[in-house]
Protein backbone atom coordinates (compact mmCIF):
# COMPACT_ATOMS: atom_id res chain seq x y z
CA UNK A 1 0.00 0.00 0.00
CA UNK A 2 2.91 2.29 0.56
CA UNK A 3 4.41 1.68 -2.86
CA UNK A 4 2.55 4.47 -4.57
CA UNK A 5 3.85 6.97 -2.02
CA UNK A 6 7.48 6.01 -2.17
CA UNK A 7 8.03 7.05 -5.75
CA UNK A 8 8.02 10.69 -4.65
CA UNK A 9 11.39 12.11 -3.79
CA UNK A 10 10.38 14.46 -1.13
CA UNK A 11 10.81 17.32 1.29
CA UNK A 12 10.68 16.74 5.07
CA UNK A 13 7.06 17.88 4.98
CA UNK A 14 6.12 15.29 2.40
CA UNK A 15 8.11 12.60 4.15
CA UNK A 16 6.23 13.19 7.34
CA UNK A 17 2.89 13.31 5.51
CA UNK A 18 3.64 9.97 3.89
CA UNK A 19 4.40 8.44 7.25
CA UNK A 20 1.20 9.82 8.68
CA UNK A 21 -0.88 8.61 5.76
CA UNK A 22 0.53 5.10 5.87
CA UNK A 23 -0.35 4.66 9.54
CA UNK A 24 -3.64 6.51 9.10
CA UNK A 25 -4.75 4.12 6.37
CA UNK A 26 -3.64 1.18 8.47
CA UNK A 27 -5.33 2.37 11.66
CA UNK A 28 -7.70 5.30 11.22
CA UNK A 29 -9.21 6.84 14.36
CA UNK A 30 -12.64 5.41 15.22
CA UNK A 31 -15.35 7.02 13.10
CA UNK A 32 -12.98 8.10 10.33
CA UNK A 33 -13.10 6.58 6.87
CA UNK A 34 -10.26 7.11 4.44
CA UNK A 35 -10.39 6.26 0.79
CA UNK A 36 -6.94 4.72 0.38
CA UNK A 37 -7.09 5.00 -3.40
CA UNK A 38 -7.65 8.75 -3.49
CA UNK A 39 -4.97 9.48 -0.89
CA UNK A 40 -1.95 9.02 -3.13
CA UNK A 41 -3.18 11.45 -5.80
CA UNK A 42 -1.99 14.61 -4.18
CA UNK A 43 0.00 14.87 -0.99
CA UNK A 44 -1.15 18.36 -0.10
CA UNK A 45 -4.88 17.68 -0.14
CA UNK A 46 -6.76 15.03 1.79
CA UNK A 47 -10.49 14.51 2.11
CA UNK A 48 -11.80 11.99 4.58
CA UNK A 49 -15.19 11.04 5.95
CA UNK A 50 -16.25 11.41 9.55
CA UNK A 51 -19.16 9.51 11.04
CA UNK A 52 -21.15 11.05 13.85
CA UNK A 53 -20.35 8.96 16.93
CA UNK A 54 -22.96 6.61 18.35
CA UNK A 55 -25.05 8.01 21.15
CA UNK A 56 -24.42 11.63 20.11
CA UNK A 57 -26.73 14.05 18.32
CA UNK A 58 -24.77 13.47 15.10
CA UNK A 59 -25.25 9.70 15.09
CA UNK A 60 -26.02 8.43 11.59
CA UNK A 61 -24.67 11.56 9.87
CA UNK A 62 -21.55 11.57 7.73
CA UNK A 63 -19.39 14.60 6.99
CA UNK A 64 -16.47 15.26 4.65
CA UNK A 65 -13.42 16.84 6.23
CA UNK A 66 -10.80 18.42 4.00
CA UNK A 67 -7.14 18.92 4.97
CA UNK A 68 -4.79 21.14 2.99
CA UNK A 69 -1.09 21.04 3.86
CA UNK A 70 1.31 23.89 3.16
CA UNK A 71 5.04 23.47 2.50
CA UNK A 72 5.80 24.33 6.15
CA UNK A 73 3.76 21.48 7.56
CA UNK A 74 4.08 20.29 10.36
CA UNK A 75 5.50 23.58 11.66
CA UNK A 76 2.49 25.31 10.21
CA UNK A 77 -0.98 23.95 10.86
CA UNK A 78 -3.01 22.36 8.08
CA UNK A 79 -6.07 24.17 6.76
CA UNK A 80 -9.02 22.05 7.89
CA UNK A 81 -12.63 22.62 6.77
CA UNK A 82 -15.80 20.64 6.32
CA UNK A 83 -16.71 20.35 2.65
CA UNK A 84 -19.64 19.00 0.65
CA UNK A 85 -23.36 19.29 1.18
CA UNK A 86 -23.41 18.06 4.78
CA UNK A 87 -21.88 20.58 7.17
CA UNK A 88 -22.46 19.67 10.82
CA UNK A 89 -24.75 22.08 12.63
CA UNK A 90 -22.57 22.94 15.62
CA UNK A 91 -21.87 26.16 17.58
CA UNK A 92 -18.23 26.10 16.39
CA UNK A 93 -18.82 25.15 12.77
CA UNK A 94 -19.85 27.85 10.33
CA UNK A 95 -22.22 26.99 7.50
CA UNK A 96 -19.39 27.42 4.97
CA UNK A 97 -17.47 24.60 6.70
CA UNK A 98 -14.99 26.73 8.66
CA UNK A 99 -14.22 25.37 12.12
CA UNK A 100 -13.43 27.46 15.18
CA UNK A 101 -10.92 25.21 16.94
CA UNK A 102 -7.80 26.58 18.61
CA UNK A 103 -5.46 23.72 17.66
CA UNK A 104 -6.02 24.63 14.02
CA UNK A 105 -4.33 28.00 14.48
CA UNK A 106 -2.93 29.43 17.73
CA UNK A 107 -2.54 26.20 19.65
CA UNK A 108 -1.13 24.14 16.78
CA UNK A 109 1.97 22.12 17.55
CA UNK A 110 4.10 20.01 15.19
CA UNK A 111 3.49 17.01 17.44
CA UNK A 112 -0.16 17.10 16.42
CA UNK A 113 -1.20 15.13 13.35
CA UNK A 114 -4.05 14.34 11.00
CA UNK A 115 -5.01 11.66 13.49
CA UNK A 116 -5.14 14.00 16.48
CA UNK A 117 -7.01 16.69 14.54
CA UNK A 118 -9.65 14.11 13.57
CA UNK A 119 -9.96 12.97 17.17
CA UNK A 120 -10.35 16.56 18.36
CA UNK A 121 -13.03 17.33 15.82
CA UNK A 122 -14.94 14.14 16.58
CA UNK A 123 -14.77 14.92 20.27
CA UNK A 124 -15.89 18.49 19.61
CA UNK A 125 -18.93 17.14 17.77
CA UNK A 126 -19.62 14.44 20.33
CA UNK A 127 -19.70 16.78 23.31
CA UNK A 128 -22.30 19.03 21.69
CA UNK A 129 -25.80 18.86 23.17
CA UNK A 130 -27.73 21.14 20.87
CA UNK A 131 -27.50 21.60 17.10
CA UNK A 132 -27.13 25.26 16.36
CA UNK A 133 -24.91 27.50 14.26
CA UNK A 134 -22.50 30.03 15.77
CA UNK A 135 -24.34 33.25 16.67
CA UNK A 136 -22.40 35.28 14.08
CA UNK A 137 -22.76 32.70 11.31
CA UNK A 138 -24.48 34.76 8.63
CA UNK A 139 -22.17 37.71 9.21
CA UNK A 140 -19.01 35.62 9.20
CA UNK A 141 -19.91 33.59 6.12
CA UNK A 142 -20.53 36.79 4.16
CA UNK A 143 -17.31 38.51 5.14
CA UNK A 144 -14.71 35.82 5.80
CA UNK A 145 -11.68 34.85 3.74
CA UNK A 146 -11.77 31.57 1.85
CA UNK A 147 -8.93 30.35 4.02
CA UNK A 148 -10.05 29.90 7.65
CA UNK A 149 -6.46 30.34 8.82
CA UNK A 150 -6.72 34.00 7.85
CA UNK A 151 -9.53 34.51 10.34
CA UNK A 152 -8.53 35.95 13.68
CA UNK A 153 -10.49 33.56 15.84
CA UNK A 154 -11.61 34.27 19.35
CA UNK A 155 -11.61 31.12 21.40
CA UNK A 156 -13.96 32.10 24.13
CA UNK A 157 -16.03 29.00 24.70
CA UNK A 158 -14.28 26.10 26.35
CA UNK A 159 -17.34 24.03 27.04
CA UNK A 160 -18.45 22.55 23.73
Amino acid sequence: MSSHHSRFTCSPAQKRLQKELVSLIKEPPPGVIIDGESVGQSLDLLVLSINGAQGTIYEGEQFQLQFRFGPKYPFDSPEVVFVGSEIPVHPHVYSNGHICLSILTDDWSPALSIFSVCVSIISMLSSCKEKKRPPDDSMYVKTCSKNPKKTKWWYHDEEV
Partner: protein, 188 residues
Amino acid sequence: MAVDEEPDTTAKNSAGGENTENKRNESRGEEERAFECNICLDTAKDAVISMCGHLFCWPCLHQWLETRPNRQSCPVCKAAISRDKVIPLYGRGGSKEDPREKLPPRPQGQRTEPENTGAFSNFGFDGGFQMSFGIGAFPFGLFASTFNFGDPVIRAHGTNPANLEDERFLSQLFLWVAILFIFWLLVA
Protein backbone atom coordinates in the same frame (compact mmCIF):
# COMPACT_ATOMS: atom_id res chain seq x y z
CA MET B 1 2.76 -2.60 3.67
CA ALA B 2 1.95 -6.23 4.19
CA VAL B 3 -0.18 -6.22 1.07
CA ASP B 4 2.83 -5.32 -1.01
CA GLU B 5 4.83 -8.21 0.31
CA GLU B 6 2.17 -10.77 -0.51
CA PRO B 7 0.59 -9.54 -3.68
CA ASP B 8 -0.54 -12.94 -5.01
CA THR B 9 -2.56 -14.30 -2.14
CA THR B 10 -6.34 -14.28 -2.35
CA ALA B 11 -8.34 -11.87 -0.28
CA LYS B 12 -9.09 -14.32 2.53
CA ASN B 13 -5.55 -15.63 2.76
CA SER B 14 -4.01 -12.21 2.70
CA ALA B 15 -6.29 -11.09 5.52
CA GLY B 16 -4.92 -13.92 7.66
CA GLY B 17 -1.36 -13.36 6.51
CA GLU B 18 -1.67 -9.67 7.13
CA ASN B 19 -2.46 -10.21 10.79
CA THR B 20 0.62 -12.24 11.59
CA GLU B 21 2.70 -9.94 9.44
CA ASN B 22 1.28 -6.93 11.21
CA LYS B 23 2.04 -8.38 14.61
CA ARG B 24 5.64 -8.95 13.64
CA ASN B 25 5.86 -5.43 12.23
CA GLU B 26 4.27 -3.97 15.31
CA SER B 27 6.61 -5.55 17.84
CA ARG B 28 9.58 -4.45 15.77
CA GLY B 29 7.94 -1.10 15.08
CA GLU B 30 7.17 -0.27 18.71
CA GLU B 31 10.82 -0.53 19.69
CA GLU B 32 11.89 1.75 16.89
CA ARG B 33 9.02 4.15 17.37
CA ALA B 34 10.07 4.76 20.96
CA PHE B 35 13.05 6.65 19.51
CA GLU B 36 11.22 8.60 16.87
CA CYS B 37 11.33 12.36 16.79
CA ASN B 38 7.97 13.81 17.81
CA ILE B 39 8.10 16.22 14.89
CA CYS B 40 9.37 14.42 11.79
CA LEU B 41 8.25 10.97 13.03
CA ASP B 42 11.57 9.51 11.88
CA THR B 43 14.25 8.00 14.13
CA ALA B 44 15.67 11.03 15.93
CA LYS B 45 18.90 12.34 14.41
CA ASP B 46 21.13 14.67 16.43
CA ALA B 47 18.71 13.83 19.20
CA VAL B 48 17.93 16.14 22.07
CA ILE B 49 15.55 15.64 24.94
CA SER B 50 13.54 18.31 26.70
CA MET B 51 13.28 18.71 30.48
CA CYS B 52 9.77 17.30 30.17
CA GLY B 53 11.24 14.17 28.60
CA HIS B 54 10.24 14.49 24.97
CA LEU B 55 12.56 13.43 22.20
CA PHE B 56 13.29 15.44 19.06
CA CYS B 57 15.82 15.80 16.29
CA TRP B 58 17.64 19.01 17.12
CA PRO B 59 17.06 20.42 13.59
CA CYS B 60 13.32 19.76 13.95
CA LEU B 61 13.05 21.31 17.40
CA HIS B 62 15.24 24.23 16.35
CA GLN B 63 12.92 24.98 13.46
CA TRP B 64 9.91 24.89 15.78
CA LEU B 65 11.60 27.22 18.30
CA GLU B 66 12.25 29.64 15.45
CA THR B 67 8.70 29.38 14.23
CA ARG B 68 7.39 30.79 17.51
CA PRO B 69 10.32 32.60 19.10
CA ASN B 70 8.09 34.43 21.55
CA ARG B 71 6.14 31.45 22.73
CA GLN B 72 8.58 28.56 22.96
CA SER B 73 6.80 25.51 24.26
CA CYS B 74 7.25 21.77 24.00
CA PRO B 75 5.32 20.51 20.96
CA VAL B 76 4.09 17.50 22.92
CA CYS B 77 3.12 18.86 26.34
CA LYS B 78 3.41 22.67 25.99
CA ALA B 79 5.86 22.93 28.87
CA ALA B 80 8.38 25.76 28.65
CA ILE B 81 11.32 24.83 26.49
CA SER B 82 14.37 26.60 25.11
CA ARG B 83 17.69 25.99 23.44
CA ASP B 84 19.50 25.91 26.77
CA LYS B 85 17.01 23.62 28.44
CA VAL B 86 17.40 20.59 26.21
CA ILE B 87 19.92 17.82 26.70
CA PRO B 88 21.78 16.30 23.77
CA LEU B 89 21.63 12.50 23.69
CA TYR B 90 24.78 10.55 22.86
CA GLY B 91 24.36 6.90 21.97
CA ARG B 92 27.22 4.47 21.55
CA GLY B 93 27.57 5.21 17.86
CA GLY B 94 27.37 8.48 16.09
CA SER B 95 28.89 11.85 16.66
CA LYS B 96 29.89 13.08 20.12
CA GLU B 97 29.49 16.65 19.04
CA ASP B 98 26.77 18.70 20.64
CA PRO B 99 24.10 18.85 17.95
CA ARG B 100 23.28 22.37 19.04
CA GLU B 101 26.78 23.44 18.02
CA LYS B 102 26.75 21.50 14.78
CA LEU B 103 23.72 23.09 13.31
CA PRO B 104 24.92 26.08 11.35
CA PRO B 105 23.46 29.13 13.00
CA ARG B 106 20.81 30.25 10.62
CA PRO B 107 20.50 33.81 9.51
CA GLN B 108 18.25 35.75 11.79
CA GLY B 109 14.75 36.23 10.53
CA GLN B 110 13.98 39.70 9.42
CA ARG B 111 11.21 41.42 11.19
CA THR B 112 9.66 44.72 10.31
CA GLU B 113 7.36 46.65 12.58
CA PRO B 114 3.73 46.53 11.55
CA GLU B 115 2.70 49.59 9.59
CA ASN B 116 1.25 52.36 11.67
CA THR B 117 -2.47 52.17 11.11
CA GLY B 118 -2.91 55.83 12.03
CA ALA B 119 -1.00 56.87 8.92
CA PHE B 120 -2.46 60.37 9.06
CA SER B 121 -1.08 61.25 12.46
CA ASN B 122 2.39 60.32 11.26
CA PHE B 123 2.12 62.61 8.25
CA GLY B 124 0.57 65.43 10.20
CA PHE B 125 3.38 65.52 12.69
CA ASP B 126 6.56 64.95 10.70
CA GLY B 127 5.77 66.25 7.26
CA GLY B 128 3.56 69.10 8.31
CA PHE B 129 5.92 70.34 10.98
CA GLN B 130 8.95 70.39 8.72
CA MET B 131 7.06 72.07 5.97
CA SER B 132 5.83 75.04 7.98
CA PHE B 133 9.15 75.46 9.74
CA GLY B 134 10.97 75.55 6.41
CA ILE B 135 8.90 78.33 4.97
CA GLY B 136 8.72 80.42 8.09
CA ALA B 137 12.35 80.24 9.06
CA PHE B 138 14.00 80.31 5.64
CA PRO B 139 14.93 83.97 5.27
CA PHE B 140 15.88 84.40 8.91
CA GLY B 141 18.04 81.32 8.67
CA LEU B 142 19.93 83.06 5.91
CA PHE B 143 20.39 86.13 8.04
CA ALA B 144 21.61 84.12 10.93
CA SER B 145 24.26 82.37 8.89
CA THR B 146 25.17 85.61 7.21
CA PHE B 147 25.72 87.59 10.38
CA ASN B 148 27.81 84.83 11.86
CA PHE B 149 30.29 85.50 9.14
CA GLY B 150 33.31 87.65 9.01
CA ASP B 151 34.57 86.70 12.44
CA PRO B 152 37.80 84.77 11.78
CA VAL B 153 38.28 83.83 15.45
CA ILE B 154 35.05 81.86 15.68
CA ARG B 155 35.54 80.30 12.26
CA ALA B 156 38.97 79.05 13.14
CA HIS B 157 38.84 76.08 10.81
CA GLY B 158 39.03 78.36 7.79
CA THR B 159 42.83 78.51 7.89
CA ASN B 160 43.23 78.40 4.16
CA PRO B 161 43.07 82.05 2.94
CA ALA B 162 41.56 80.94 -0.37
CA ASN B 163 38.78 79.20 1.52
CA LEU B 164 38.28 82.25 3.65
CA GLU B 165 37.99 84.35 0.53
CA ASP B 166 35.43 81.97 -0.93
CA GLU B 167 33.41 81.98 2.25
CA ARG B 168 33.44 85.73 2.45
CA PHE B 169 32.22 85.92 -1.12
CA LEU B 170 29.50 83.37 -0.43
CA SER B 171 28.42 85.17 2.71
CA GLN B 172 28.03 88.41 0.85
CA LEU B 173 26.15 86.68 -1.92
CA PHE B 174 23.75 85.14 0.57
CA LEU B 175 23.39 88.42 2.38
CA TRP B 176 22.30 90.10 -0.85
CA VAL B 177 20.00 87.25 -1.74
CA ALA B 178 18.43 87.52 1.72
CA ILE B 179 18.06 91.28 1.48
CA LEU B 180 16.48 90.94 -1.95
CA PHE B 181 14.15 88.28 -0.61
CA ILE B 182 13.04 90.44 2.31
CA PHE B 183 12.61 93.38 -0.01
CA TRP B 184 10.51 91.25 -2.36
CA LEU B 185 8.41 90.08 0.58
CA LEU B 186 7.81 93.66 1.70
CA VAL B 187 6.91 94.89 -1.77
CA ALA B 188 4.67 91.93 -2.56
